[in-house]
Amino acid sequence: MAVEERRRSQLLRGVLDLCLLAVMDEGPAYGYEMTKRLRARGLPIVGEGSIYPLLGRLESAGLVDTYRAESDGGPPRKYYTPSPRGRRALAAGVAEWRATRDSVDAVLGLVEAEVYP
């Protein structure tokens, strides 16, 4: 795996749970539906860890509520939605992500000015 790919993978790994909580916060979703929502926002998970173990972790941590319902003309699916605790975790995680992003930008922004093509 190229250095760039590995870095992207590592960066994404730290926030993929937040991304899942965010896309299911738009409306209840089953596994593949979340994958499609992520892909629609330019975040394909190809090459990344699967979302399923992560969904399992969110479930066992009480951060999501689940229920089974018929999908559009398809078989019953397990739908996920953030629990109240999950919404608080999402809010805190987003704040943490933004603070981290800003701090990293403050450092990398200085470097960018010195890089020539």
């Binding site: 593949y32 994958t35 892909r39 394909p44 190809v46 699967s50 979302i51 066992s60 605790r85």
Partner: protein
């Protein structure tokens, strides 16, 4: 694609995942893979890097859900108790025999020498203690490095775990914890064997602000050279 699901099923069976939960996961996975196939998406687009190793994928999913049954069954526990009982009986018989022998020879006037106590040292050259981690009680939220906000409802205490990470027994370990600016606590633990740990619980002072710093330090023990893990700092903001 069903081959992948079948491999997952086999792994869940091996891991003794309850049948109903394994069926549920298999059905969800199969439905997702069928829909992806109809969309023209690859397995990797659904499963990420897990697509290449169904067994690892299945094990990770079950583990994260906390549904892997422990390997030890009641039969093994019963067998363990029987073995433990037999050991206790053997020790009792040996001690009793020793006492009888001792009483029998009590008339002897030969001076007795105390048995030398073996030095409290086990093989291994590394000596030292480390701070393992901290959490907020009663919600038991772990304080991760760099974590700023703890979503704990009415936190009452902080638990700090430290232990012996060296290869030799630490006869006396000292832990100092500072919470906020004005509260310092001292703890000692005696005879920490290698790979053992202790957890201290500190009730949060009432006058703490919502943001405070927790500093935990273990005092280097004689012979300790690597003191890198002897100190940890957590910056805590208590959320809602």
């Amino acid at each position: 694609m069903s081959q992948f699901v079948e491999e997952c099923r086999r792994e869940w069976k091996r891991l003794r995942v309850p049948r109903a939960l394994a069926d549920e996961m298999a059905e969800d996975l199969a439905a997702d893979l069928r829909e992806a196939e109809a969309d023209g998406a690859s397995e990797e687009e659904v499963l990420g890097s897990g697509a290449s190793d169904p067994r690892a994928f299945a094990a990770a999913w079950a583990n994260e859900r906390g549904i892997v049954r422990p390997r030890r069954s009641g039969r093994f526990r019963t067998r363990g108790l029987v073995i433990m009982g037999a050991l206790v009986l053997c020790v009792f018989l040996v001690v009793a025999a020793g006492l009888i022998a001792s009483l029998a020879s009590s008339g002897s006037t030969a001076p007795r020498t105390a048995t030398a106590v073996a030095p409290a040292v086990v093989p291994g050259g590394i000596v030292g203690t480390s701070i393992f981690g901290a959490g907020v009680l009663p919600s038991n939220v772990a304080l991760a490095s760099g974590r700023r906000t703890v979503l704990a409802r009415r936190p009452q205490a902080i638990a700090i775990t430290f232990g012996n990470t060296g290869g030799q027994i630490v006869e006396l370990a000292h832990l100092t914890v500072q919470i906020g600016l004005n509260h310092t606590y001292q703890f000692t633990a005696r005879r920490l064997v290698p790979n053992s740990h202790k957890t201290v619980r500190i009730t949060l002072p009432a006058d703490l602000p919502s943001r405070f710093k927790v500093l935990a330090v273990t005092r280097p023990v004689p012979g300790e050279t690597n003191t890198h893990n002897n100190e940890r700092i957590w910056r805590v903001t208590i959320g809602r």
